[in-house]
């Protein structure tokens, strides 16, 4: 029994970015409620040489768009990197979700063994589609989703694992 590459890609990104949007929303409400300057959270980091919250959300959405777009063999739209508010970040996630929802899943499915060329820092790298998704994109994507969540938790935003997970598609409820 098998399934397609797009099934391992589009619904996973959609689940996690939808939950990330919710998490950003929780941060925004937390700031309002506790009279915290949103910038304190938006620029918060786990360590001085790690990326700030805003950049973690930008990276998660960029990875989401890149993996769907590159596997579908279409140009990936630039999301810009100029978000200054929680609302800006939510709008960015919406743009990313709209793009990811628009890609041709059959084109993704055809990329299991196609060589994907991408840049990693100063280097150009090549991986077959399935390896690019599972071993390069997944770890990066989940890394930034988790780090965004971590930054909020260390700043006292009340979140739990279920906020991070969102609603897993396929949950069978009685």
């Amino acid at each position: 029994m098998s399934f397609s590459l797009s099934q391992a890609c589009v619904p996973v990104i959609t689940q996690m970015l939808t939950s990330l949007r919710h998490v950003v929303d929780c941060a925004s409400k937390h700031c309002e409620e506790h009279k915290i300057d949103p910038n304190a959270i938006l620029t918060a980091r786990l360590f001085p040489n790690m990326w700030a919250f805003t950049k973690q959300v930008q990276a998660a959405t960029t990875w989401g768009c890149n993996m769907a777009g590159r596997l579908a063999h279409v140009d990936v739209p630039s999301l810009g990197d100029d978000e200054k508010t929680f609302d800006d970040l939510k709008a960015r996630i919406d743009r990313a979700l709209a793009f990811i929802g628009s890609v041709d899943t059959a084109a993704i499915d055809a990329s299991v063994d196609r060589v994907i060329t991408f840049t990693a820092g100063p280097n150009t790298r090549k991986l077959r589609g399935k390896d690019y998704l599972l071993h390069q994109s997944y770890p990066h994507f989940f890394f930034h989703c988790t780090t965004a969540y971590d930054i909020l938790r260390t700043n006292g935003v009340q979140l739990a694992k279920r906020d991070f997970m969102g609603l897993p598609p396929g949950l069978i409820t009685d």
Binding site: Q7, L46, V112, L134, T154, M165, I172
Partner: protein, 174 residues
């Protein structure tokens, strides 16, 4: 062209657990070089109500072990959660990796449509094999793995994204 469930789980767990083991080496070296009591890092948390480092590593191992067992249709081996040192945590990772190698990949592949019932806190939840892996197990596995890394970064251990990623399988020979 399609993928199988074993393909989508085993090499990922292997890549990421091996990277976690090397990250533990670096944490241990860091503690030694800076004369930090290892138990400080092992018990460190990002926030008072979050799990400490040791527990994050234990849970990451358990998501790999439990998910793979359930997909393969074998009993989930139970590990005692009594690790008190970096060496003991590395042993747990090695034990987990060795256990994964014993599993029948065909049995895992056949779980795509099979009902998997598993505990989530006090509840019992059922999902089909494929969504269970993609939408429940993977986000959880990466969550705890990223959290372990984040705790070390937060404590000044000199590790980077490359350490988190480990060796990416599938880079075609240049």
């Amino acid at each position: 062209m399609s993928l199988s469930l074993s393909h989508l789980s085993q090499p990922i767990f292997e890549q990421m657990l091996n990277s976690l083991s090397l990250v533990l080496d670096k944490a241990e070296e860091h503690a030694k070089a800076r004369k930090i009591d290892p138990s400080v890092l092992l018990n460190s948390r990002l926030y008072p109500d979050m799990f400490p480092f040791t527990r994050q590593v234990q849970i990451a191992c358990d998501f790999a072990k439990n998910t793979s067992s359930r997909l393969a249709g074998v009993d989930v081996p139970k590990y005692t959660d009594d690790e008190q040192s970096f060496a003991a945590l590395k042993e747990r990772i090695a034990k987990t990796l060795a256990f994964l190698k014993t599993l029948d990949h065909v049995a895992i592949d056949n779980a795509v449509e099979r009902d998997i019932t598993f505990p989530v806190g006090p509840m019992s939840v059922t999902m089909k094999g494929q969504p269970y892996l993609l939408h429940f197990a993977m986000p959880n596995f990466y969550f705890h793995h990223s959290m372990a890394y984040a705790i070390l970064r937060h404590n000044g251990v000199d590790i980077g994204k490359r350490d988190f990623l480990g060796t990416i399988p599938g880079f075609p020979k240049m």
